[in-house]
Symmetry: C2
Subunit: 389 residues, 2 copies
């Protein structure tokens, strides 16, 4: 256990989880001379392929986490699935856990998050906890359109753990009959939003914060598909409100590291929908489109180094996710994509192709948002195998 927050030598950052977020942390770590260790589920995980120092083990096992943390100066996360009580145990051991368990729980548990944001007067969709079918039906009865969004408080991502309901009969499996829900549930009103927004903010233990431009994200079936940076034509007061909310939440929760705040843009202003206390899909454009990428920023924040400039390098960047599709072998498609667009930045995650799975992303930057969007979409569709011109 190393209590010093700022090591005298180049520090070791341990990342629990070895998915694409950990993988994309490797390039800035290499540049900065910071050493990474990852706790992977398998030796073939996305990040385990590219980082030399890999431990294969179960992040749900406290002993494994303790052994892993003992060889790191600070630990941080590729995902939010580490049990809160394990994080608390590590902190009690003296491990620098960043973000800390008290902040991270707001990215793990939507009920805790909603309660906290409400207490801090951050605008959120109307919501209620759900313990019984009657709770759910009572909430639905108050909505304008007779529908609502039912969510599991924990474990949801990429559209999982989210369901549109019109009656409690639509969710009997989740509600669990007389014994009650197997996992805590909450219900929200369906918000009439004009678009979805995201703001990245980084905060260091010293309290320094840096906020990125507000971006627009396009979700399909709960999965982020496209991101426009900055959000095209956003009302300036809405953009400022979104950045202000992100900064206030980061300070209120004492977040350390990067946090993504997802919001709904509505006629009446912005509403905070989700928090993720880690680098986020809506920030992948920063690798090629910002002075400091979200991955570098996260490393700087968890190490309590001064934060980098979050400014854009070009007026606009467009990112499109590459989902697994019909192309079993992606590599030959490179030839076409690179030849067609020499300014295209391709990022692959080293993951086997499975339909609908995020296997990479592409980013293009410039000034003509329509042109950028057409180019990024084309490349992503070609890498997916949807088109074959």
């Amino acid at each position: 256990m190393k209590p010093s927050p700022l090591p005298a030598e180049f520090p070791v950052v341990g990342i629990v989880g070895a998915g694409q977020l950990a993988r994309m942390s490797a390039p800035p770590a290499i540049a900065l001379g910071i050493r990474l260790r990852v706790l992977a589920e398998t030796p073939d995980d996305s990040a385990a392929q590219v980082i030399p120092d890999v431990t294969v083990g179960d992040y749900r096992d406290l002993g494994t986490l303790r052994e892993f943390a003992a060889e790191c100066d600070v630990i941080t996360f590729d995902h939010e699935h580490v049990p809160t009580e394990h994080l608390q145990a590590l902190e009690a051991d003296g491990v620098l856990v960043r973000p800390g368990s008290a902040a991270l729980v707001h990215g793990q548990d939507k009920i805790v998050m909603r309660e906290r944001l409400g207490a801090a007067a951050v605008p959120v969709p109307r919501w209620a906890p759900v313990r019984t079918a009657a709770d759910l039906d009572a909430f639905i009865a108050t909505t304008a359109d007779g529908t609502a969004i039912l969510k599991t408080a924990r474990g949801g991502y990429d559209g999982k753990g989210v369901r549109l309901v019109r009656t409690s009969a639509d969710a009997l499996d989740w509600l669990g009959g007389e014994s009650g829900p197997a996992v805590p549930l909450l219900v929200e009103e369906r918000v009439e939003f004009s678009r979805e927004l995201s703001v990245l903010v980084a905060r260091s233990p010293s309290g320094q914060a840096a906020v990125y431009p507000v971006v627009e994200s396009v979700q399909l079936d709960g999965v982020c598909r496209e991101v426009y940076a900055p959000a095209p034509g956003i009302h300036e007061s809405h953009a400022l409100a979104a950045q202000d909310a992100a900064l206030r939440i980061a300070q209120d929760l004492e977040v350390v590291g990067l946090m993504a705040v997802e919001l709904f843009d509505t006629a009446d202003g912005v509403l905070v929908n989700e928090l993720a206390l880690r680098p986020h899909n809506t920030g992948h454009w920063t690798i090629d489109g910002a002075v400091t990428s979200q991955f570098e920023q996260h490393l700087r924040a968890v190490l309590d180094l001064p934060l980098g400039l979050p400014d854009q390098l070009a007026p606009n960047s467009v990112m499109v996710n590459v989902l697994g599709g019909d192309l079993a072998a992606i590599y030959p498609a490179y030839l076409h994509c690179m030849a067609r667009d020499p300014a295209l930045k391709i990022h692959m995650y080293g993951k086997p192709v499975r339909p609908g799975r995020k296997i990479g992303h592409v980013t293009v930057s410039g000034s003509d948002i329509v042109d950028l969007t057409v180019r990024a979409r084309h490349a992503a569709a070609f890498l997916r195998g949807d088109i074959n011109e």
Copy 2:
């Protein structure tokens, strides 16, 4: 041995040598999903710290090279010290060696290079091979100022293998008495140049070429210290001549991969001074300052993928090398440098600090070249320990 120039799956690029150039190749390889293997001299080499697939072995041993190459789709180089005959043997085995031995020798042997450039009518400083003291004195007698530059044909870099001479008596150790020089020597006139320039060009096996903007480099004691991209105020005809020379040389030598062409800018035009058939110190600014970094471009070229756009992301980038100095521990200096300049891009090579050794570099990009230069110099001096404000 895999004869196909374009693998169906993500290929393995083997890099002979594991210095900082191999290290800086890792980030674009991670993004592109290209796997790297390095042949390192020690497990602690700069690139061996950050790339999982490391073989420790002697690049002067053909058997070692053969075993290494057998597990790669293509091999390329961190340095130019692999014996030419070994490269030829690998090629005879069917290994894809890129650049090939026939091209690479022009980056290894200055006599071969000068003869070839002369034959191709590329302007070079006046020169002659030196076998005896009389050869050297005869050349010096023809110079305007009675001095000349004596060089070893092979093995020189960063000012090593280069000596200013006024008479053969200044180089008796190299001339070797009656037995003749231990290594082939050449002598050149001292060129009255206004500044030193460098042009990066990449060429793929298909013959596609991409040339970067002409940069100015500042050398001190034969070591590159600063690079300005693009070369400030360069006469447009000189810039075009430099790019044209680089493209012609790349085509004439059938270079594959990246080549750096170093030139003297004189009142009468540009003269080609050196060639390096690999990513080069004068191209480090491209990591942060160009759409496609020299390291990504080299990987794309050796894999015969279409080349990326070499355009600058900002009007100007300034790179300053960080040399080993008085600071034993660099990491704490980060705090100062990052706090002072949030737009600074710091790159460290993971090398132990030794006086004068290149241990990293910094780059800043923007529009005011004077401001950028002041900031980059300050950061490099602070990381070196020269200043401590």
